[in-house]
């Protein structure tokens, strides 16, 4: 598509609203067209038949294109091809393709419009339908509702007033307060994810202080375990894992600092705005502070396609797709998490239900246009950074000097040198090389060209040698290509015993031009030999360093047979990086071949001529100077390398170590286009960076030229704007949901029209205001919620109430819940006495890790659960994205490839099998038994203790009898195995 056309569409998109307004008072035929025909065409036809796609060579976007194609006969619907294809026979129509036919009234509207002349205002262009209606609860400004005045002794907090008001309206009654044992079990799990200890339960049950419960809540909120529990909720939403996912599923050894950052942020009760800002643009807004960088782990938390980024370049379609999906993950993670809006629906088309357009979507992609997911340092020492900057600037100076010098040399070479350089540049790509993955032998890398390196081939027996052939390598590394690593000076020697050597070619006194891919042949040797040695005395340059590489060494006997094929190879040193580089590649019969021998020969000639010119103009002074500059560069580079790197975190980054095709942008914004149907091969027009629109008149664009960091900073500021209607409601709703099992809005990631409406809209706003205008303290919000009468209710059923509100959405009782996978695992470790409460650090494995170098294998079935490193809280386990822990998955643990704002709670026989028979459960049951036996040798006491630890109550007389009888018959470990499977162990009343 040409640029003119593009910008035309752009204008129409920007001004379509204006066009509609300007023509608001046209005649009624026009109205009929706009009201009855346009919506149908927009909804059912335009996605294929537009000016970009033109499926079936037909576009319905404008009058011009629609009539040009002859599908419409104005005034005669019956003769119009369009009517033919949309009219169904036997319930099926040709168009819309593979879809339900248009409704009868839609077809008759189109017929009527055609029959009456098919009037289509010439300047009117169809656009994809846009939802422009912001008349939806979540877009309304947050009100500050007054607390309902209710005089009821049950009311402890304003929350209770709001809830009771609704209960009264619905004819529901609240439940009685739960008993103390239930309360301490409930609130301890909710706030810390762990069971209360026997002593804690005792103390609370016997505390006569009227504020005993409030004291308990304060203690729990001060516990370091609070952050461990609530960080897990956050990590579910943001898709945190310790591997990349996709093919190969490479490890992210430094993702955990972000996980620890989240735990610490919760424990420190970081104000929410600050928490949000750090995760979007902490590096920009809080420079020099580690949390500003650690927070950026948020942007990098989701999956990443190694192959699509490292192995496929950005220029290829698959590379573009991978990067488009990568930004899509960043955009949806941000908007789902903080705004609870399903922005990802607008990647291929305007959102069908909410006022989010493709323009908005790609505007958000443009904010993340320069960031990638990679490791970056987060705790840099300012002194070290100063030194780093000094060295960087030195390096720049040396490089400038070097290029000046090289220019002087080039100038001295005159126009012929320029010509030769040009020819080499052109010839190289024309020489289509054919090569195998096995490149050849490659020495270790050194910093000087004069280090001697040798490689020797042992033929295994003495052979009459007629000729020897050396073949150079081909490697695109540093743009070198043919002749890669071939020595500038060298000698070839032979020997029958490996002791006495005879030189058969001496090139040590004079530079040899690089042979490229032509063979270097040593003919007419006619001597006996068993060993052939090549010694490089002047190495060729790689990239400011030096190596010796050779693809193949052939030794021909008098019958012209290559007797070196498969022969043993030894060398002074070798980088050994198979399959490309390994010693035995030197005699494997494989070497890179130039496609066209004439071109190859031509290249050798040109290279040779250039070498001759260079030899003349490279005076000893110049060479000395060049050498000295190069030494300074090497030293500065070495110094830079030896500077402490700082600890690393996997986060959003614009600077990082290049890995194959995965290169840092250095902050340069990638051009972001609005993609037709989300297809990278159909870019429509450049996107303008911007936010979500929050109202019809709201300006969502980021104005003017902005850098990538400014864009993220703007986004972070916008997300924490006091008047943001979505952000504050979103977070208080999430916290509410984790306490009650369902949000005030039941769809925590979707406040749009496909989501649920709030059950208690005033309460939601009241909470949002309290939270926003207080200290944005989550702990205060928890305190407010868990000290309410609503939260303290019993979970017992009430038939009258459940008849009215079976799903308990109005909270007439507390919801009984099953513990989450982590809570179950942590409880088992705790009651068995195996738990190590050490916080933070790299994740521990629950699998054996094999074959890390290529595609890591995560072998769960080989893991030994007695490994003490794994007896820590579940939040610290190493989470494998492609192979989630089977035990955890069976218990409904979140899938780290999708945002999980609310976990499923299922019941399956596989869960029963995991809880009964997993190696972990069986081992811990044994530990549990040992622990009980250590504390008492009386079985009755052991049984009582086991019950108290697992359920926080004493067994009933009947239970005691049953447990004792079972333990007597089968031993205590078997009883402990049973205890882990009690419903009461895994359910919270």
């Amino acid at each position: 598509m040409n640029n003119m056309h593009q910008s035309a569409i752009h204008c129409v998109l920007l001004f379509s609203g204006f066009v509609l307004l300007a023509h608001a008072d046209v005649c009624c035929a026009d109205d009929f067209f706009r009201e009855r025909v346009v919506p149908v065409l927009q909804r059912r036809c335009l996605s294929c038949h537009n000016d970009v796609q033109r499926k079936g060579e037909f576009s319905l976007q404008s009058a011009e294109s629609a009539f040009d194609d002859g599908y419409l006969e104005p005034g005669d619907a019956a003769a119009s091809h369009l009517v033919d294809v949309i009219t169904p026979t036997n319930g099926k129509a040709e168009m819309p393709k593979n879809s339900d036919p248009l409704k009868t009234e839609e077809i008759s509207a189109i017929r009527k419009w055609i029959d009456s002349g098919a009037k289509w205002p010439s300047d009117f262009k169809l656009q994809e339908p846009v939802i422009a209606d912001f008349d939806w609860w979540s877009y309304q400004p947050i009100k500050s509702p007054s607390v309902p005045k209710i005089n009821d002794p049950w009311v402890r907090t304003p929350i209770d007033s709001f809830v009771l008001k609704t209960l009264n309206q619905k004819g529901l009654s609240h439940a009685a307060e739960a008993d103390r044992r239930t309360l301490i079990r409930r609130v301890t799990f909710d706030l810390t994810g762990l069971p209360p200890t026997i002593e804690e339960v005792d103390a609370f049950q016997n505390d006569s202080d009227p504020h005993a419960y409030e004291k308990l809540v304060d203690r729990l909120l001060e516990s370091k375990h609070y952050g461990e529990r609530w960080a897990r909720h956050w990590l579910d939403i943001v898709k945190y894992a310790d591997t990349c996912g996709y093919d190969k599923d490479k490890l992210r050894p430094n993702a955990w600092p972000y996980r620890d950052y989240v735990i610490r942020s919760f424990n420190e009760d970081k104000p929410y705005a600050r928490f949000v800002q750090e995760q979007i643009a902490g590096d920009v807004l809080f420079p020099g502070e580690p949390d500003g960088i650690l927070g950026l782990g948020f942007i990098a938390a989701g999956p990443w396609d190694f192959i699509g980024h490292v192995e496929v370049p950005e220029s290829k379609i698959d590379g573009k797709v991978a990067r488009n999906l990568d930004r899509d993950d960043m955009v949806s993670n941000t908007i789902n998490t903080f705004c609870s809006m399903t922005i990802q629906c607008a990647r291929c088309h305007n959102h069908k239900f909410d006022p989010l357009t493709q323009e908005n979507y790609y505007g958000l992609q443009a904010i993340f246009a320069a960031v990638d997911r990679a490791e970056r340092p987060y705790d840099l020492d300012p002194k070290v950074e100063k030194r780093r900057r000094e060295l960087d600037s030195q390096l720049k100076q040396f490089n400038a000097k070097l290029s000046t010098l090289e220019k002087t040399i080039a100038d001295a070479g005159g126009p012929r040198l320029l010509e030769l350089n040009q020819q080499i540049k052109e010839l190289k790509p024309r020489l289509k090389t054919e090569k195998e993955p096995q490149f050849g032998y490659h020495s270790a890398i050194t910093s000087g060209s004069t280090t001697e390196k040798w490689v020797v081939v042992d033929l295994g027996r003495i052979v009459g040698v007629s000729s020897i052939v050396l073949r150079a390598c081909h490697d695109d590394y540093a743009g070198i290509g043919s002749g890669f690593g071939f020595p500038i000076r060298f000698k070839v020697e032979i020997s029958t015993d490996g002791q006495d050597w005879k030189i058969v070619r001496d090139q040590t006194m004079e530079d040899v031009p690089n042979p490229g891919l032509t063979a270097v042949e040593l003919d007419n040797i006619n001597l006996n030999a068993r060993h052939v040695r090549v010694t490089a005395t002047k190495l060729s340059e790689r990239s400011s360093d030096y190596i010796f590489a050779l693809a193949e060494l052939q030794v021909f006997d008098t019958n012209r047979d290559n007797v070196a094929h498969g022969a043993k190879v030894a060398a002074l040193d070798s980088i050994e990086a198979p399959v490309r580089w390994t010693k035995k590649n030197l005699t494997d019969g494989l070497w890179a071949k130039a496609g066209d021998p004439t071109l190859a020969q031509q290249l050798v000639q040109v290279v040779k001529e250039r070498a001759e010119i260079l030899a003349k103009i490279e005076t000893p002074e110049r060479l000395k100077e060049k050498d000295s500059i190069q030494k300074s560069i090497t030293k500065a580079q070495g110094d830079l390398k030896s500077l402490p790197q700082g600890r690393m975190v996997y986060a959003a980054a614009t600077q990082f170590k290049t890995q194959g095709n995965f290169k840092p942008t250095q902050g340069t914004l990638r051009p972001i286009q609005v993609l037709h149907r989300g297809n990278v091969q159909q870019p429509d027009h450049p996107a303008t960076a911007g936010m979500l629109p929050l109202s019809r008149s709201g300006d969502w664009r980021i104005e003017g030229e902005t850098t990538e960091s400014q864009r993220r900073a703007e986004l972070a500021t916008w997300l924490t704007d006091r008047d943001h209607p979505l952000v504050w409601r979103s977070i208080v709703n999430r916290i509410w949901q984790y306490h009650f099992g369902q949000g005030i809005v039941a769809t925590p990631n979707d406040f749009g029209r496909m989501g649920a409406k709030p059950t208690h809209p005033e309460l939601l706003d009241w909470l949002a205001v309290q939270f926003r205008d207080g200290d944005q303290s989550m702990k205060q919000l928890h305190r407010l919620i868990v000290t309410s009468g609503v939260y303290r209710q019993s979970s017992q059923d009430n038939e009258a109430n459940s008849g009215i509100d079976g799903s308990n959405q109005y909270l007439w009782r507390m919801k009984r819940r099953r513990l989450e996978a982590e809570e179950i695992r942590d409880s088992i470790l705790t009651v068995s006495g195996a738990m190590n409460y050490q916080m933070g650090g790299p994740g521990y494995y629950l699998f054996e890790l094999e074959r890390v170098e290529h595609s890591p294998h995560y072998e769960y079935h080989k893991f030994d659960p007695s490994d003490e490193a794994s007896h820590r809280r579940s939040i610290y386990r190493f989470i494998v994205r492609s192979q989630p822990d089977p035990w955890m998955t069976t218990l409904d643990c979140a899938d780290s490839s999708q945002s999980t704002p609310k976990r499923n709670e299922t019941l399956t026989s596989l869960q029963a099998l995991s809880m009964l028979n997993s190696k972990f459960n069986l081992l811990m049951a044994e530990r549990f038994a040992t622990q009980l036996e250590l504390e008492s040798d009386n079985l009755e006491a052991q049984v009582e203790k086991a019950m108290l630890l697992t359920t926080q109550r004493k067994p009933t007389e009947l239970e005691r009898k049953q447990f004792v009888a079972y333990a007597q018959k089968h031993g205590l470990p078997n009883l402990c195995r049973v205890m882990f499977n009690l419903s009461e162990f895994v359910y919270l009343d």
Partner: protein, 480 residues
């Protein structure tokens, strides 16, 4: 009830079928799925999906190309700029394998899949499958889950979710991975993602000491008696807990789940035990050399043994009421190659892999047919994409996401046909604007199972998710 409430209580729905199951005094009970009433009469109730990890070449197995034989070695010319994954645009390369006609339909198939010659009259080939990407991971996701990226349920999960279990004593959805390891994406290809965990695939490794993790207790202190008495004790204590908490069907369902688990402990080992299979059946599945030692290099008889064992177990599982079985051939992309990603040497890898696969697959089809099960079991053979008709290196083929082959067989499929040709080179569909996509295959399979693919939805994060996303149409031409 509002649909959203219904979904949010997916856990509690368990009770409904748990109760129904308890009322049935049968050795195995069905459970209902989310599709309570099928959308139309089904032609099939079970599925087998055979997945060739690494991308199996259509033009070397099923899609015969005389043009390649004619122009072998000539400079390839695609008539347009082609973007390959690596650099496989060498000369045209004919298949190293010979093709010959089979069956009434005279279908030309390659010598390496010759055992399937006897089955071609029951098979519908689709030669114009078109992918979206040449990247293994994304393409595998696309064929396995209908989406190009992680986070979506596998096809087996959707079917399990929709239809529930035929026999609750066995998992509804079983996966038999390659014995060497997982293909690209590993278990994410059969995960339940946002669907209830009960719909996830259960991986079974027949060659392992514990083919199903956690099926049985491996601890010295657990005996048969302690296990049995323990379950009885649990039943009582959990029963008391439930009685004190009326109106919570989950607690009852949980008790029931332990009973089901106990039944599965008996059913699963029996289903996996092939020792009672007659000799001729073992031979048919390539299992007449069990215990043999094999060379280090890839070889056909070893492939046949491992793949054949999975096929035989698949048949036993289907007979016993497993709803969906997925069998994998090929592990990840490490070296030496043990998957279908033949960049270097097609004959070396495809030869033994295909011969092994064909022995087991042909045995499975014939065996299902003779027992009548094939009538309501759909078998799908698939892979993530095809391979180029030009060479890579001198003996390999690069990725071809532009066209590849699927085939289906059994349960309502019209046999002996080839639908949707590829072009004369096997480079793209012959009719480029009208290819078949994974959505169409999935829509067709759901259709045969009695499900309208547009009506099988699950609300996740504000989006009504479907296996077929927003695409797909039933391929009427291959429906009998």
């Amino acid at each position: 009830m509002h649909r959203r409430e219904f979904l949010s209580q997916a856990g509690t729905n368990f009770s409904a079928f748990a109760l129904a199951a308890m009322l049935h005094d049968e050795s195995f009970a069905e459970s209902t799925g989310a599709v309570q009433v099928l959308h139309h009469p089904p032609k099939a109730k079970r599925v087998v999906q055979l997945f060739m990890g690494g991308a199996a070449s259509h033009i070397d197995l099923w899609d015969h190309k005389p043009m390649l034989e004619k122009h072998h070695g000539a400079k390839s010319d695609f008539g347009e700029q082609v973007e390959t994954f690596q650099n496989g645009l060498g000369p045209w390369m004919k298949s190293p394998f010979k093709f010959s006609p089979h069956g009434q339909s005279g279908k030309m198939i390659s010598e390496v899949v010759e055992p399937l010659g006897e089955c071609v009259d029951d098979i519908a080939f689709i030669h114009n499958m078109k992918g979206k990407t040449g990247v293994h991971s994304q393409a595998t996701y696309l064929q396995a889950t209908g989406f190009q990226r992680p986070g979506f349920p596998g096809m087996g999960s959707w079917v399990s979710y929709a239809l529930g279990s035929i026999n609750e004593n066995l998992p509804t959805f079983v996966v038999l991975p390659d014995h060497r390891g997982f293909a690209s994406n590993g278990p994410k290809n059969w995960g339940s993602a946002f669907l209830p965990a009960s719909s996830q695939g259960t991986a079974i490794f027949p060659q392992r000491e514990n083919p199903i993790d956690d099926l049985l207790p491996h601890a010295k202190y657990v005996t048969k008696a302690s296990d049995r008495d323990g379950l009885e004790l649990l039943n009582q204590i959990n029963g008391q807990y439930q009685n004190q908490r009326v109106g919570d069907s989950r607690l009852e369902a949980r008790i029931r789940s332990y009973e089901l688990a106990a039944r599965m402990q008996l059913s699963a080992p029996e289903a996996l035990d092939i020792s009672g299979e007659p000799k001729h059946i073992m031979k048919m599945y390539g299992l007449d050399r069990i215990g043999a030692t094999y060379p280090d290099t890839i070889n056909a008889s070893e492939e046949a043994e491992y793949f054949g064992r999975k096929c035989l177990i698949a048949r036993r599982l289907l007979e016993r009421g497993v709803r969906f079985v997925q069998i994998w051939s090929g592990n990840d992309n490490s070296h030496p190659r043990r998957n279908w990603d033949s960049h270097e040497d097609l004959e070396r890898d495809h030869g033994p892999l295909a011969r092994g696969m064909a022995v087991g697959t042909a045995a499975l089809l014939k065996d299902l047919k003779q027992s009548g099960l094939l009538e309501d079991t759909i078998v799908l053979w698939t892979t993530e994409f095809g391979r180029m008709p030009s060479t890579q290196g001198s003996k390999g083929r690069d990725h071809n996401p532009y066209v590849f082959t699927n085939w289906l067989c059994g349960g309502g499929i019209k046999g002996g046909i080839s639908h949707g040709p590829s072009d004369e080179w096997g480079y793209k569909p012959l009719h480029r604007s009208n290819p078949t996509e994974v959505y169409d295959v999935h829509a067709t399979m759901l259709h045969l199972l009695g499900i309208d693919h547009k009506r099988l939805t699950y609300l996740n994060d504000g989006i009504d998710r479907r296996l077929t996303d927003v695409h797909g149409h039933v391929i009427q031409e291959i429906v009998a």
